[in-house]
């Protein structure tokens, strides 16, 4: 076969040789295309799988770990939650609206494929600077794409995060998280069991959109990338809504053997993954598959990434019952083949066999790589920066206002106002809090959900950055009144074939794994997005963590805002002289240097447990995690959300900039009723958690007094800076 053809599919020479060995012959062009897609990083995880093995994935409450369409955890009362985080970065960088919209569509299919009704959507976004016109174009398009798709589906978008940093200028990140609710007995899996069982293609017709999307997602972006626009799919949320209702109804019949979303690499990936998992094969007549246009060849049919399609294996004899339900929802369900016992994927066009490969050759037999890992050169220098030499800027009030108006820290109302975050009438706490809370109808309980990831920490120390990403997500859940149960992750990195990038990935995953062990939050699913580079420049390493927790009693639901005059403000945790990797350094000094904050997972656990304990006893009236911008920004956010001022004294014997803006981990600001102070302090002593009573709630300014310095900022001014920053920049 011509070398340029197999190269074009993204395969290496050794991979091509391996394919010949597996097949005992030369593959034809269709087969080669299939291997190219299935052995792409996006589908095979060939560079990351060995690293990902470190993640703890089990716990008594885990019903389904990684490897399925979504992870599933038990939340009691016979109910379970399915959730997963997934990237749609490259498509969004090329065509922001459709890229983001289909990202939402894809993750929602992953959820309802498991038999769960989607009840919430979250997203984690990264863009370049809002001062750039291109970023504003991408940001606007991505937000409206998420809104356009999610709102139409009627799934509330309840939480998210947005960071702006120059490293994402040409390679924005769009990670979408779906959350679904189901009864245990409705759990469906992507398994093609039972030779002879019929196979259906359901939903939208197959067109030429998105062909080679998986390969496209597994290479760096460059000048030629805009020519890849055809590799971006277009979404139809209305079709998805009907497909969702129909699939959930079909699952209830019990006639479904297995079901899988057609995501990356469409028909081929869904069919071979279902067969490989079940140890079966499948034969399919592509001529029967409904298509949008005539003249599509087998290669195009197999690799198209047309949206809103599912592959279903149904019990033999139940074909009509299943088709009737799809017909009721005006959804096409076409019988295209059957499960076989030979372990082969056999694709025909009428009588002619166009491709035949073992199912496992496409999945398990994909080679795995342990690329070389090497600490990047920038690191020693950046970490070694002597922060003691930094001048102490004294206008702390002004600095606080500047930080509040920094897009990464400022209110994201401009974003979430475009999302229907109330649909479903379950949103007890919506966007703008540490974690959102969704109540579960029929029970006095709910789930807390959040998504988090600070890439500056990872850039300056991937191991710690990984630990912090997990710890902070769990901390957010606790602040909302939930007990963290499990996480999903999306690992957004550069090209893993570069040793420095692979080192970042390896270290970050190791850090995340340790935190998951310690905090007892197993990883139940997720996704890897590598090759996030433009013209050879990688993004900051960005592991994003989505976490789910259980709010055992809705009375535990807690928000960040201070509640009333005279309440006492307490800081749980310790404040250290740590300015490294802080927003303060970046925004005020233009420096991304120093060491990322340390994290002691034992202390982290104590602080989280103490907070949850106080919340459950009804003692903590508000709770907020200290993150970007440090304690001063955390206090300001508590004031802004509560529409009330505060008076605090910060007496630590370290420099004021560290006290105010340092990002020491494992700290939570709570407020309590004045009359409960003795009780609370007793509890905290009993729990042996470090704390400091900072002051009290009240007035309409935030007054912070230190030894020999002070900050006095009007609430109204903070609100203005915080609320209007992004809207203002978007007018530019």
């Amino acid at each position: 076969m011509k070398e340029d053809f197999w190269r074009e599919t993204g395969l290496s020479e050794s991979e091509y040789e391996l394919i010949k060995e597996i097949l005992q012959r030369e593959p034809n062009e269709v087969e080669l295309g299939i291997f190219g897609a299935m052995w792409s990083e996006h589908c095979s995880y060939k560079h990351s799988r060995n690293v990902l093995k470190q993640f703890p994935t089990s716990a008594p409450w885990v019903l389904q770990g990684p490897g399925e369409n979504a992870g599933v955890i038990d939340i009691g009362d016979g109910q379970a939650v399915a959730f997963k985080l997934e990237s749609h970065n490259h498509p969004s960088a090329i065509e922001p609206y459709q890229g983001a919209a289909t990202g939402v569509g894809g993750i929602m299919r992953d959820i309802f494929t498991m038999g769960a009704r989607p009840i919430a959507s979250l997203n984690s976004l990264r863009f370049g600077s809002l001062k750039s016109k291109k970023t504003r174009y991408l940001f606007r398009g991505v937000v409206s794409g998420i809104a356009g798709y999610g709102n139409c589906l009627g799934v509330p978008t309840v939480a998210g995060e947005v960071y702006f940093h120059p490293s994402y200028e040409d390679n924005c990140l769009v990670n979408a998280m779906g959350i679904g609710l189901m009864n245990h007995e409705d759990l469906a899996k992507g398994l093609a069991h039972g030779p002879g069982n019929p196979v259906f293609i359901v939903g939208a017709r197959t067109g030429r959109d998105g062909i080679n999307g998986a390969s496209f997602a597994s290479e760096e972006l460059n000048d030629a990338t805009k020519e890849k626009r055809p590799a971006v799919q277009a979404g139809d949320p209305f079709m998805e809504k009907l497909l969702m209702e129909a699939c959930l109804e079909v699952i209830k019949t019990g006639f479904v053997v297995g079901m899988q979303d057609m995501g990356a690499a469409g028909i081929i990936s869904s069919s071979c993954e279902m067969a490989a998992r079940a140890g079966t094969g499948m034969e399919m007549d592509l001529a029967k598959a409904p298509r949008r246009e005539e003249g599509m060849n087998a290669y195009e049919m197999l690799l198209s990434e047309s949206q809103e399609r599912m592959l279903l294996v149904v019990q033999k004899g139940k074909e009509q019952a299943v088709q009737d339900i799809f017909a009721k929802w005006d959804i096409e369900a076409t019988l295209v083949g059957q499960v076989t016992s030979d372990g082969l994927m056999t694709f025909r066009e009428g009588e002619e066999i166009v491709a035949q490969v073992p199912a496992k050759a496409l999945t398990e037999m994909c080679p795995r790589y342990d690329p070389e890992a090497k600490e990047p050169e920038y690191l020693a220098q950046a970490q070694g920066y002597d922060l003691a030499t930094l001048p102490e800027m004294e206008d702390y009030g002004k600095i606080l206002l500047t930080l509040l108006a920094t897009p990464t820290i400022a209110s994201k109302e401009w974003v979430y106002r475009q999302f229907d975050y109330m649909a479903g009438t379950n949103t007890v706490v919506g966007p703008g809090s540490d974690a959102a809370v969704i109540r579960l109808k029929g029970y006095n309980k709910g789930i807390a959900v959040t998504v988090d990831g600070n890439s500056r920490y990872v850039y300056l120390d991937p191991y710690r950055g990984g630990q912090i990403a997990v710890a902070e997500a769990a901390r957010n859940i606790v602040c909302a009144g939930g007990r963290p149960l499990a996480i999903t992750d999306c690992l957004n990195f550069g090209n893993p074939e570069k040793p420095e990038i692979f080192w970042q990935l390896k270290e970050a995953v190791a850090g995340m794994s340790e935190a998951c062990h310690e905090l007892e939050t197993p990883v139940v699913g997720g996704n890897v997005s590598l090759y996030n580079e433009t013209k050879g420049e990688a993004i900051y390493p960005t592991p994003v963590v989505g976490a789910v927790g259980l709010v055992e009693d809705l009375a535990h639901v807690t928000t960040l805002g201070f509640k009333q005059e005279d309440d006492i403000i307490i800081l749980l945790g310790l404040t250290k002289d740590e300015l490294g990797a802080s927003s303060y350094l970046s925004v005020i000094h233009g420096l991304e240097a120093g060491k990322s904050p340390e994290i002691n997972l034992e202390l982290e656990k104590q602080v989280q447990q103490a907070t949850l304990e106080l919340i459950k006893k009804g003692l903590a009236l508000s709770a907020h995690d200290c993150s970007e911008g440090g304690l001063a920004v955390a206090l300001a956010e508590c004031c802004i959300a509560g529409k009330i001022g505060a008076e605090v004294a910060l007496t630590d014997n370290i420099r004021p900039s560290s006290i105010l803006f340092g990002e020491t981990q494992s700290r939570i600001v709570i407020s309590i009723n004045k009359s409960k102070i003795d009780l609370v302090l007793q509890e905290l002593k009993k729990l042996q958690v470090p704390y400091k009573v900072l002051g009290s709630v009240g007035g309409n300014t935030l007054n912070i007094a230190g030894s020999g310095w002070k900050v006095n900022v009007e609430l109204a001014e903070m609100v203005e800076k915080y609320q209007e920053a992004i809207a203002c920049l978007m007018k530019g």
């Binding site: 009627g154 209305f238 809504k241 106002r417 999302f419």
Partner: protein
């Protein structure tokens, strides 16, 4: 009392309405399928929010041709109570049961937020549990929510007291700043001449429980119940 909630392909607030009727009002609720022609003997029809038929072409423009809509129109003509919420309001204007039209928000973006409404009419089946000029907090969630009509229609609506809700501020003043979407005369909800059909862009079913941040929406449904119990149901 029996409420019928119409389900079009793409409706997405029907379950929220069902929950409210069933669990909060503790009355009967049943779904009415778009392709059916049977109203199942309901006493009030709710056209819920969502994206009927994807809102393709124009919000509500395809739904008005659904088989069930003929029955809904006949029901309304006979004086039956019909409440259109958000997409339901859009469908009612497309069907001609209410005058005017609903176009894209002034911002050209989807907006989800709480709004304050001044109750302009209380002698209606939908607002009799409110007091005159009471300010209620009910959220909106729409991209196409700006109510427009020609001058004569607006004058008629004003004169006949058919504007039921207007967007207002906390002082119950009707100001441009309080208008979230650019609706003419700050209109958030109107009714037909007979007063048995109400269309409103805000979602009362989303704020009928304290845990969701507000209970004002329940007043709309309590009003319907009281009206029906007080006369129509006899």
């Amino acid at each position: 009392m029996k409420f019928g909630i119409v389900v079009f392909p793409g409706s997405n607030c029907e379950a929220d309405c069902d929950y409210l009727v069933d669990k909060i009002l503790q009355e009967q609720a049943t779904y009415l399928w778009h392709a059916d022609k049977d109203l199942k003997g309901v006493d009030c029809i709710i056209l819920p929010g969502g994206y009927s038929y994807g809102n393709y072409l124009r919000a509500g423009s395809i739904a008005r041709y659904a088989p069930i809509m003929e029955e809904v129109m006949a029901f309304a003509e006979k004086g039956g109570l019909v409440l259109g919420i958000c997409n339901g309001f859009q469908i009612l204007t497309e069907a001609g049961l209410l005058p005017g039209a609903i176009i894209k928000n002034r911002s050209l973006r989807f907006q989800c937020e709480n709004t304050l409404l001044r109750v302009e009419q209380t002698n209606t089946p939908f607002t009799n549990a409110c007091t005159q000029h009471e300010v209620v907090k009910i959220p909106i969630a729409h991209e196409e929510g700006a109510y427009v009509a020609d001058k004569e229609t607006l004058e008629r609506l004003e004169k006949e007291g058919r504007i039921v809700f207007r967007y207002c501020n906390e002082q119950s003043e009707i100001t441009p700043e309080a208008n979230p979407n650019g609706s003419l005369n700050n209109i958030a909800g109107i009714m037909n001449v007979q007063g048995n059909v109400l269309g409103m862009m805000p979602h009362p079913e989303r704020c009928a429980e304290a845990i969701l941040g507000g209970v004002d929406g329940e007043k709309i449904f309590r009003s319907i119940l009281a009206w029906w119990q007080g006369g129509a149901g006899r």
